[in-house]
């Protein structure tokens, strides 16, 4: 323990505590801008670059950044002297002097850390010479996210997420001095970089430098077009987070209001991606059982472990970094794409309309889904199975634009026939959920017995890498789970080195799985928010009358009427895909 004085009061803190943390314990909120603490990962972003959190420490010549200055015995700290406040304000003015002044129309307005701290510091004027230079950069618009580096303040949070947490390595600081900025190597576009579009950089960006590609206008247009039948699907994680955009507590389930809102926006049919999640289990579960049965029967040509393939950022990741392991992941398409494929065949047939006249919209907690729905594999004659994918945040904006008082909406149900879902489907939204859903079905199919207990709590939690062995009636099945791509890399490298012996693995790119997705209300990687959302997901699971995918009546009907056997020929054509190695510059 070390004892120090902050603003005249003394405090005793653990060795290694920073001045910022110590002050916080005393109720002193020193403003921080570049600093980001990912407690759950033990990773901190503290380049000490913004210099907003500086404090005066007796005996030191210069002001010290409190975020990265360790408390020392006998230290005397002052957090609001004239010198400190003047320095903070001057530094903030410098930052603002090189920042666009378009707050009124910036998509981050109201949720921008820079704006907030400028207000906190009471900046009312920016002293700088007339026509002071402003650093500007080429705008980078990708299918999933936009980079407007004019708004970058070099906090390096995105860099930390991209490199240390996700180990993707798409973003790094380039250039020097005034033109220093975070960008892909050689300032290439994101689409040409190893970016997986996981969107976690967007989730932590303090300003409007990194935002999602906005698709809402296209959706408004499609809805207004009388020749189009516009149907919508909504992913499980959305219902556990959307409420936050309307002032509700994190973890408030808004499934009914969500369906009601979508209907009021004007979608012709309001469906549920959960339906497709159950479908995914039928396919992926069958594929798992197929591989497993062959493997246990002695066929060594079978590739195990099987890896889940629902997460599009994860797909991009292994296509880029593990091009020699492309035969390991399940070939099952993601629920979003299964839904689109079924909608534009089976459902379009039911309605008697051409696929070109149907517009499929998805509401996703994810930005990589925007990229996924544009992949050529998921188009028929250039017409995509899913036309537009928007994030939870974009949906919230759309609801507001359409004058809908979300909070007072009644609860409504999804439409049939692509709206029914089981508890197994909804847990897709949390890390471990997909594999738990698969295990629920695989167990019953493999053993021919019904589950003694339906909740596999051993597969849940927020540990980065988890492993569990499930007893399939005497056959132990080893399961691995990872969320966040850095953990996925560790797991895959472990498999390569023979460290692990898994039969099946679930991987999700984002913290906590889809609930922590890059398209969710800004969670800034706060694991507590993510935990609450995950709890909501499991709560919805418990409330469902049916909790195993292979009992979803609409899904069974789909197979009976249209698809035939799970993992059969038509299913292969419509519900499975292939992977391609992505080249890196």
């Amino acid at each position: 323990m070390v004892k120090l004085t902050i603003d005249g009061a003394s405090i005793e803190v653990k060795k290694g505590t920073t001045v910022y943390q110590a002050a916080k314990q005393m109720g002193i909120n020193i403003p921080v801008l570049c600093y980001m603490n990912l407690h759950h990962l033990g990773i901190e972003n503290k380049p000490a670059g913004c210099r907003i959190c500086v404090v005066e420490i007796e005996g030191r010549r210069n002001l010290a950044p409190s975020c990265s200055t360790e408390c020392m015995e006998g230290m005397v700290v002052k957090t609001h002297t004239v010198r400190v406040i003047n320095a903070r304000k001057t530094v903030m003015e410098l930052l603002l002097s090189d920042h666009p002044k378009d707050c009124l129309i910036c998509s981050k307005s109201g949720q921008c850390d820079l704006q907030e701290i400028a207000q906190t510091l009471g900046i009312r004027e920016i002293h700088a010479v007339e026509n002071a230079a402003v650093s500007t950069y080429r705008k980078d618009v990708s299918p999933a996210l936009n980079r407007d580096m004019d708004k970058c303040i070099m906090c390096r949070r995105c860099e930390t997420i991209c490199n240390k947490v996700q180990t993707v390595g798409a973003l790094n600081a380039i250039n020097r001095g005034f033109t220093a900025v975070v960008a892909p190597a050689f300032e290439q576009d994101l689409i040409d970089s190893p970016c997986t579009f996981c969107g976690q950089c967007v989730a932590v960006c303090p300003t409007g430098a990194l935002t999602e590609f906005d698709d809402t206008r296209n959706i408004m247009k499609a809805i207004a077009d009388p020749t189009k039948t516009v149907i919508v699907q909504t992913a499980p994680a959305v219902r556990a987070a959307l409420g936050e955009e309307f002032g509700m507590e994190a973890g408030t389930l808004v499934t009914g209001k969500l369906a009601a809102a979508l209907r009021r926006i004007g979608f012709d049919k309001v469906f549920d991606t959960d339906f497709a999640a159950d479908l995914t289990i039928m396919e992926e579960g069958t594929e798992l059982l197929d591989r497993l049965t062959k493997y246990l029967g002695g066929d060594k040509s079978v590739k195990l472990p099987i890896l889940t393939s629902c997460c599009p950022a994860w797909v991009n990741f292994f296509e880029t970094y593990y091009p020699t392991m492309l035969d390991i992941p399940s070939t099952a398409r993601s629920p979003q794409q299964m839904f689109g494929s079924v909608a534009k065949t089976y459902y379009a047939d039911q309605l008697g309309i051409k696929r070109e006249d149907m517009v499929v919209v998805s509401i996703m907690p994810c930005l990589a889904k925007k990229y996924e729905c544009q992949r050529d594999e998921f188009k028929v004659n250039g017409n995509p199975d899913v036309d537009f994918s928007i994030s939870t945040r974009e949906l919230a904006a759309l609801i507001k634009t359409y004058n809908i008082d979300f909070v007072s909406l009644p609860d409504e149900d999804f439409d049939a026939p692509l709206g029914e879902s089981t508890g197994a489907a909804v847990i897709f939204g949390a890390t471990g959920g997909v594999i738990e859903a698969a295990v629920r079905t695989a167990y019953e199919v493999f053993t021919g017995k019904s589950l003694p207990k339906i909740d596999f709590t051993e597969l849940r939690g927020l540990e980065g890498i988890r492993q569990a062995t499930i007893d399939f009636n005497g056959t132990p099945i080893n399961i691995g789970i990872a969320h966040q791509l850095g953990n996925a890399r560790k797991l895959l490298d472990g498999i390569k080195n023979g460290m692990y012996n898994f039969h099946a693995i679930e991987i999700m790119a984002c913290p906590g799985g889809c609930v922590g997705g890059g398209g969710q209300p800004y969670h800034h990687n706060d694991i507590e928010i993510i935990r609450k959302r995950a709890n909501a997901i499991y709560e919805e699971d418990r409330s469902k009358p049916i909790r195993v995918s292979h009992e979803n009546k609409e899904v069974l009907q789909l197979y009976k009427e249209f698809l035939g056997e799970p993992y059969g020929d038509l299913a292969h054509e419509l519900l499975h895909t292939h992977y391609v190695a992505r080249e890196m510059v």
């Binding site: 380049p47 670059g49 002097s97 010479v129 070099m154 001095g177």
Partner: protein
């Protein structure tokens, strides 16, 4: 490359004639050039010499010797420091003192050598001569120690530069080379070495002036079995070339110093981080490392002890900020060259997270002599807190531009008016900028202040790595500050806000003032911004970059005020603030100015006084230069 081991051992043990063989003693005399058997022509082919045309001179010398069938050795040496007189060619004839020739450009080779080989002093082409007992001096040529440039210097670090062949380990050995290392390895513990360095009072020569012994002790105390030693040879100040000269002229001195340091702290790998713009220095280093390794002075089990040291050269891309030790280490690791917060200090967690000691070239180059002559001897020179010597690169408006090594405590006056030979063109001294872009200026009242770390800081400047730029009455101090800011804006890594944006704003404001668009409000703005940048920047670059502004504001406030109030530049440097007019009384109407004006701003009839249209004038000064009647006035 491999030297007779018995000879080497004898040499590093002190070359005692009682224990040596006759043949070794003869070899020693030859290596020290106490006498030569046949003529030797020395030519300074450091980067500076080559820049002045030494390669052409060398070719001419070869041709001359061949044509006249003279059997002579040609030895390429480093730089002796007097840049203004390059190319420098010395000749030593058997039985005679070594004669130093100056400005021997290729067209002067024949004249110079003809006289020398005829035994006559070449007129107007000599600089000085070496004083060697028993050798016949040249008539009418000063001895080196009487020469105003060399006389007041105390050359320890530069002792061999420009004198010996840097590609010869033997020549270094003959001048006490590796004796310090031998002594350390055979008689001292690492801790004792750190202690002696502490006793010597040696402080970091890279800028900060941190006590070297304390730094080594810190690294020594770390328990990690893997430690690294790093030499910062990323010399980046504009106008600084001390480190380059040492490496090009005497590379083994650096290697020996590093080997002693590595032994002291317990490192087995030594990295020299050197900018790729120094190809000759890199070549000399590579050769010296190879030669030292071939003779067991580096590499495995040095001199038969358990101490091993692998020396590795790491090339940098020449970023100024990589002179900051944490940035340098990140660059070595393959990361972006940008600083991180200290602590942790490199001594705790440096290269690859291991304890690392970083010193600059000059610091290490000071080490061998401390063990050769003892810490007391070293600390006998200098001021109370600054011991030994300091190498400076003297440049600007001074007659003897060059590299000098002087004892700490010398005054500015001695440097400028004795060694430097006074201000160019007899102009008035205005200021001396020390410490490069991180430093500040010293003015007339500092002329008799002893130069050491403390006094320079107190004056608002700093020792820096040793750049000294002399400014005269014609220099505008606002423009000087602007020039340095231009450099820091370019060289900031961009990591922290005050340095990235603040320096840019400082520069813009200075530019505005120099363009005559400044206002009185700009001055307090500059001052506050400068202070905040100093106070809040992450590393030494930003913490010192406003120094040129603050220091010129302190000593030349009136100049700033003139720029923003009367919109005049007292030194007449800021073009935008100048007005060219024609004195009708002096103008003869010769039309020369009108014909030379690039923008047709001058009108007038022949033989009638001309007039300059101020709205058109671009203040290029062409009229002023051309006028034969001094009729053009500049204000």
């Amino acid at each position: 490359m491999k030297i007779n081991n018995a000879f080497l051992q004898w040499a590093i043990d002190g070359a005692d004639p009682k224990t040596g063989q006759k043949e070794w003693e003869d070899r020693m005399v030859a290596l020290r050039r106490e006498n030569v058997q046949k003529p030797v022509v020395f030519i300074g082919t450091g980067t500076c010499g080559l820049g002045a045309g030494a390669a052409f001179t060398l070719e001419k010398i070869r041709q001359y010797l061949e044509k006249n069938a003279i059997d002579a050795d040609i030895v390429e040496v480093g730089c002796i420091g007097l840049c203004v007189e390059e190319p420098l060619v010395d000749v030593q004839l058997p039985g005679r003192c070594r004669l130093m020739g100056k400005t021997i450009t290729q067209d002067k080779v024949d004249e110079f050598l003809k006289a020398v080989f005829a035994g006559e002093t070449p007129k107007g082409l000599t600089l000085a001569q070496f004083k060697t007992d028993g050798l016949e001096p040249w008539d009418g040529v000063k001895f080196q120690d009487e020469h105003p440039f060399f006389g007041p210097q105390t050359r320890w670090v530069l002792r061999n530069c420009g004198v010996i062949n840097p590609a010869s380990l033997e020549e270094y050995l003959a001048r006490d080379g590796y004796r310090g290392l031998k002594k350390v390895l055979s008689t001292m513990s690492g801790e004792a070495v750190c202690k002696e360095i502490e006793q010597s009072g040696l402080r970091g020569r890279g800028g900060g002036g941190f006590p070297t012994g304390m730094k080594w002790k810190f690294a020594f105390a770390q328990k990690d079995p893997q430690k690294y030693l790093v030499c910062n040879a990323d010399e980046g100040d504009p106008g600084a070339f001390m480190d380059r000269a040492v490496i090009e002229g005497d590379p083994h001195r650096l290697l020996e110093g590093m080997a002693i340091a590595a032994y002291a702290i317990g490192a087995d790998k030594g990295y020299i981080y050197i900018r790729a713009e120094y190809p000759l220095a890199i070549e000399r280093l590579k050769h010296a490392i190879a030669e030292a390794e071939a003779n067991n002075l580096l590499g495995e089990k040095i001199l038969g002890t358990d101490f091993s040291l692998k020396m590795i050269i790491k090339m940098g891309a020449g970023a100024f900020v990589c002179g900051e030790e944490t940035a340098l280490i990140h660059s070595m690791e393959g990361e972006r060259g940008e600083p991180t917060v200290k602590p942790p200090f490199p001594a705790e967690s440096g290269y690859l997270g291991k304890p690392t000691n970083v010193n600059n070239v000059e610091t290490y180059a000071n080490v061998p002599v401390i063990f050769l002559k003892g810490p007391e001897w070293f600390s006998s020179i200098g001021t109370e807190k600054s011991k030994g010597t300091k190498v400076f690169a003297l440049a600007g408006k001074i007659n003897n531009v060059g590299l000098i090594e002087v004892p700490m405590g010398i005054t500015l006056r001695e440097i400028i008016y004795e060694i430097g030979g006074g201000i160019k063109g007899g102009k008035k001294f205005k200021a001396m900028q020390t410490g490069g872009p991180s430093g500040g200026c010293l003015v007339e009242k500092h002329l008799d202040t002893p130069i050491d770390y403390e006094n320079l800081s107190a004056a608002g400047s700093m020792m820096g790595s040793g750049g000294m730029i002399v400014l005269d009455e014609d220099d505008c101090m606002v423009s000087v500050a602007k020039y340095y800011l231009e450099f820091t804006v370019e060289e900031s890594c961009g990591k922290c806000v005050p340095c990235r944006v603040g320096n840019k704003r400082l520069h813009e404001t200075l530019e505005k003032i120099c363009e005559g668009k400044g206002t009185e409000e700009d001055l307090p703005y500059l001052k506050n911004l400068s202070n905040v940048i100093k106070d809040t920047s992450l590393c030494g670059l930003g913490q010192t970059s406003p120094n040129p502004v603050l220091s010129t504001m302190e000593y030349f406030w009136d100049e700033y005020v003139a720029h923003v109030t009367t919109r005049t530049c007292p030194s007449g440097k800021c073009k935008a603030l100048m007005t060219y007019t024609i004195d009708p009384a002096k103008c003869t109407g010769c039309t020369l100015c009108a014909r030379n004006c690039p923008v047709d701003a001058i009108a007038g009839e022949k033989r009638e006084p001309h007039v300059i249209d101020q709205t058109k004038c671009i203040r290029c000064g062409a009229c002023y230069d051309k006028c034969k009647f001094s009729a053009i006035n500049v204000q």
